[in-house]
Symmetry: C2
Subunit: 208 residues, 2 copies
DNA sequence: ACAAAATTGTTGCAAAAACAACAGAAAAAT
DNA sequence: ATTTTTCTGTTGTTTTTGCAACAATTTTGT
């Protein structure tokens, strides 16, 4: 059952030195993966933060997703039939577990614990990813900058309460919400003015 | 491997009268499911068309997703921790296979073929859902109505070529792209004027 | 510790989108 | 077959967003 699943326990298992798993390290700013080759790659972020980003023809950066510890990503989740060039960019030092999805139902030679756990948990792992993506769609489908901000604050307040620190800089947040930075900044000023929120850079306090 | 998977073959198996599966029929306009209860429900649309919809406080309809034959949806994919009230609405007569996800790894009494197939294919089914959702995020993250239209036309042209019929009415398309209908209509007129496209209601022809 | 680079908040202006209202066309209901 | 309802395209007006430029602050790199 969904709530019983613990990805932390799961990822501990990789330490069995399974021959089918690679662990790679990336420095801040490095590209972890592009979506051009290795269509079967499936990755788990073991530590660090990374973004799935794209630049539109106008030079605007779009942060499609933000990955933190135990987020999953990889070529198997991305439809290559598009003109859109997304990359996964390390925001800070990252350790990544890389797995070739072809092997998901194949035990490795030693039938290691990692595989047993992976096969068992895989459905739950990706279901929770779908849940996240659905929330993301709800957010992006909001029409105004104000609604996007309040919607995003709602999500954060579910987790952290009325006061929290954004996981983004203000500039990054505007890329994540797909709005102009200065417009968003203006809207934040309006929300502050109307006493809906207090904000200083990444620190947010909801007053409702 | 991903491309070997065939959901049609899979759904044929449900006919084994598995005791854990329900098949329900819905008429046009009926609500197939809300996201308030039955958190373990997992559904496959066997026939018909349905939308995952929400109405914002302003009365605007948002079509978050469109489901057609063999689309999957259900409460397990949706985060209840939100104020957002989505429902799945039948656009036409729908037949839906309903399954309780608790049972995914449990064989039914007769260990029927349906379960064998479901357990085997489940990862691939949901991975292809993630692929779809990622494309959807890319689309919604576009900032202008023009880019959304062209992005959506691109997706359709990958599948159907330069001429195709929209799976939406013009009004529905605006809800799917989260833009005002009349603004979108105006932008379509501009695209026609610039000889980028020909359009008459649902019929689209790309001229580039 | 200092210099360089990036981030932030602000504002005027231009561009785009939302809103509103309407008439004609198409689709659905009776 | 006819009426009713919904959909479509259009356009004027208002509101919101994007763009550009700038100074102040913070962060980063050396």
């Amino acid at each position: 059952m969904k709530d019983d699943f613990n990805i932390v326990e799961f990822t501990k298992e990789f330490s069995t030195n399974c021959s089918k798993v690679q662990i790679k390290n990336f420095e801040k700013g490095e590209t972890i993966t592009t979506f051009l080759v290795n269509r079967n790659q499936f990755c788990i972020l073991l530590s660090g933060t990374a973004d799935l980003v794209k630049y539109d023809y106008n030079g605007n950066k779009i942060i499609a997703e933000r990955f933190s510890q135990y987020s999953i990503f990889g070529e198997i989740f991305y439809n290559i039939n598009t003109n859109n060039e997304f990359i996964v960019e390390a925001k800070e030092k990252c350790q990544v577990l890389i797995y070739s999805y072809d092997d998901i139902n194949e035990k490795c030679k030693s039938n290691c614990k990692f595989h047993q756990t992976l096969v068992k948990c895989f459905p739950d792992i990706i279901i929770s990813k779908i849940t996240d993506l659905t929330s993301r769609i709800e957010l992006l489908s909001r029409r105004t900058t104000r609604d996007k901000l309040l919607g995003y604050f709602d999500l954060l307040s579910k987790q952290y309460g009325k006061s929290f620190t954004l996981p983004f800089s203000v500039t990054e947040l505007s890329n994540y919400l797909s709005v102009d930075r200065s417009s968003m900044s203006r809207e934040l000023a309006v929300l502050k003015n109307e006493k809906f929120i207090e904000q200083d850079r990444r620190k947010i306090k909801l007053l409702y």
